[in-house]
Symmetry: C2
Subunit: 415 residues, 2 copies
């Protein structure tokens, strides 16, 4: 069978599964999700073993620390996989919920109700936890899912999807992993808009651009996060230090981590020495603009390329700005519309920042790392959308549904 016809029959199977999934009751779905969690925990060792193989092969290839951080599973991360499935089971089911009922002057009754999207293809990089989370969320929201994970995680993904698919009562083909790591398979898949309703690419710019240009299916990109934190003139500097440290260091390999720190000139001399000392103390490489390098002599030089770079690593670029407006200009120019923060006690500055910044989430006095489905109370997320259509920011169960109108008449016609 050619790759093309293989992809078509995979997508056809998904479409048939989606019809069955749309009819499942909430209790049935929740019970299956809890059994998935049990399966994952019970077979933890198999997953760890497969993941070790993936990690070893990846280390041999000499790939980046950020990639290995995302790929490597420890027992705690597997616990978290099971926990996320149980969490999804506990969340309210959006499917069938009536969003609005309208009675029109001509007597028509119009109900707008939530329905599953249908078939979702998820293309992502080497993060095995995404395999579990995407499967759980797609399933609970009544969608069939086609998964294509990064080739570095292929052994982990194979065993995880095998375990999930062995869950009792899970409709066949609800969760399918593309077995091949061929790029051609993905290209064929991206043309199947008759079967697949949504494709979610989650990863670096190369992946996103490839999907955007190849796909005839609607795309919701989970693209890069080049996130800034701006420490304003009126910031509480102790608070700023904690927030910046958290945003850069707590998990540098993910999209809502801090990449560029903007500091108002009036507080730079007081703030930067202590901030940089603390960051360097945990191994962060700091690169600064000329002004910041006159304040802290030890740091490296930051240039144009740094403002454009999502490091995803223990590297931070720093720029001193003359004003809030200059910070806003920098963010408008280099930001990726993902997560942006201001640290300030000045309410007017905060409101100006909130209004002017075009990003999925804009923070005042908090870490950009908090742009997350769990932290936002969505329960869990399939990723963070960096585009504006359908879903922006964390995508949870609600965002994995669409709606339709049910219209009840008594013979009404158009006049």
């Amino acid at each position: 069978m050619s790759i093309k016809s293989e992809m078509i029959s995979l997508a056809e199977r998904a479409k048939r599964a989606s019809e069955e999934l749309a009819r499942l009751s909430t209790p049935a779905k929740n019970s299956i999700l809890k059994n998935m969690a049990r399966g994952i925990l019970k077979r933890k060792k198999e997953i760890l073993r497969a993941n070790e193989r993936d990690v070893e092969l990846t280390k041999k290839k000499g790939l980046s620390r950020a990639l290995i951080d995302r790929l490597a599973l420890k027992p705690a991360r597997i616990q978290n996989m099971a926990k996320s499935l149980r969490k999804v089971a506990s969340l309210p089911d959006p499917v069938g919920r009536i969003i609005r009922t309208t009675r029109r002057p001509n007597g028509l009754v119009i109900k707008k109700i939530k329905v599953p999207i249908g078939v979702i293809a998820m293309i992502y990089e080497a993060r095995p936890n995404v395999t579990v989370e995407a499967s759980g969320l797609a399933f609970k929201s009544g969608n069939a899912v086609i998964l294509k994970g990064g080739s570095e995680a292929q052994n982990s993904n194979l065993i995880i999807t095998k375990i999930l698919n062995e869950t009792k009562s899970l409709p066949k083909n609800a969760i399918q992993l593309i077995g091949t790591t061929s790029r051609q398979a993905v290209k064929e898949l991206l043309r199947l808009d008759d079967y697949i309703d949504l494709v979610i690419p989650r990863g670096g710019e190369g992946l996103i651009q490839m999907v955007r240009s190849q796909s005839t299916i609607p795309v919701i990109a989970h693209a890069k996060g080049l996130c800034h934190t701006y420490v304003d003139r009126d910031a509480n500097l102790d608070m700023a230090e904690e927030i910046v440290y958290n945003a850069k260091v707590q998990r540098p390999g993910v999209c809502n981590a801090l990449e560029t720190l903007l500091v108002h000139k009036d507080i730079a001399k007081r703030f930067l020495p202590r901030m940089i000392e603390r960051l360097e103390g945990v191994g962060v490489e700091v690169r600064g603009c000329p002004k910041s390098r006159r304040i802290v002599l030890s740091i490296n030089k930051a240039g144009e390329i740094d403002w454009q770079t999502e490091y995803l690593d223990l590297i931070l670029s720093i720029k001193i700005v003359n004003s809030l407006e200059e910070a806003l200009d920098h963010i408008a120019r280099y930001g990726s519309n993902h997560s942006e923060a201001i640290i300030t006690r000045d309410k007017k500055a905060a409101e100006r920042f909130l209004k002017a910044v075009d990003a999925s989430a804009v923070f005042v006095n908090a870490s950009t790392r908090l742009n997350d489905g769990g932290e936002f109370g969505l329960g869990a997320e399939i990723g963070i959308s960096t585009q504006k259509l359908h879903a922006r920011g964390p995508m949870g169960l609600e965002e994995l549904t669409t709606y339709k109108y049910l219209v009840y008449g008594k013979g009404q016609v158009r006049t």
Copy 2:
């Protein structure tokens, strides 16, 4: 200047305009909309003159009756243009509305608020009223719009956008019409995802397919409506007759008009003769399946191609089915997920139909022609989305906005 750089500077201008538009107050926008309506009425003659030129040229080219129906303006249609602008002025402004406020256990306050999408490109066929409606809706929802209408309507569109742009206080470049009718211009435009946030193609399958395959910008397609009405065994036949007549005849050239009538075998003999007589009486060409042709001898033969065709004309295909399930299968196979109707007094049949049919709007005992923003109480619509992401069915002001999260902290970090 090359077409490419022309399109880039047009898109750049739109992006700058969108920043200004996002800041306009609701009263300012409403006053501008009312002035637009005045401008359209005052210069009605100029519009009619330009439109006459378009209609004459189009008739010479021998294009279809449906196309000319959509293109031709009469004084009443211009009145409706002005009316639609005043209507949009009267509608609530979604921009800035708080969708939800959440307080998290860690004290974070998260506000989800409605914001404009940004820059919207609208690609449509020869319907000058769309030029007005799209401009009014995009403007009220704080978006800049780039319009590319069908070349047959170019004279009408030029004068309409000229009049709109001469409205006092309208920000410059809020409404731009692509002056050239070159296909290359559109192709260049569809790659400008740095500037344009959404493209809405509204028209035939060729246009939609071209946009889907060329665009790197998110697309919301307003594609074909191959709409069915199923007259069930338990239908009130008088009601069925009125609804079918309305859905086919009232305005056959539009997407929510009826194309294929499905009739349960048990009532076909009672229903079809009177129905067909009435339709033929107003010039509808009826094409039927073999069974229906044994009931009414005068009608033409319908074949596979008819089930696949959106006539957009005074033509109707008819199929007799053995059951509700057969009707559902036919709709699943040939329908375009647009508008589908069942005529029945049987509540269980109605619920089965509502649940099983995958369409933007599913009707019980009403005409598919009612799938419309105005009829649904959205006030006005930019079109009817036939896809599932972001907006499904009629797209009004709400659907022309997105959201962002404003997050208020007191030093919260990720733990």
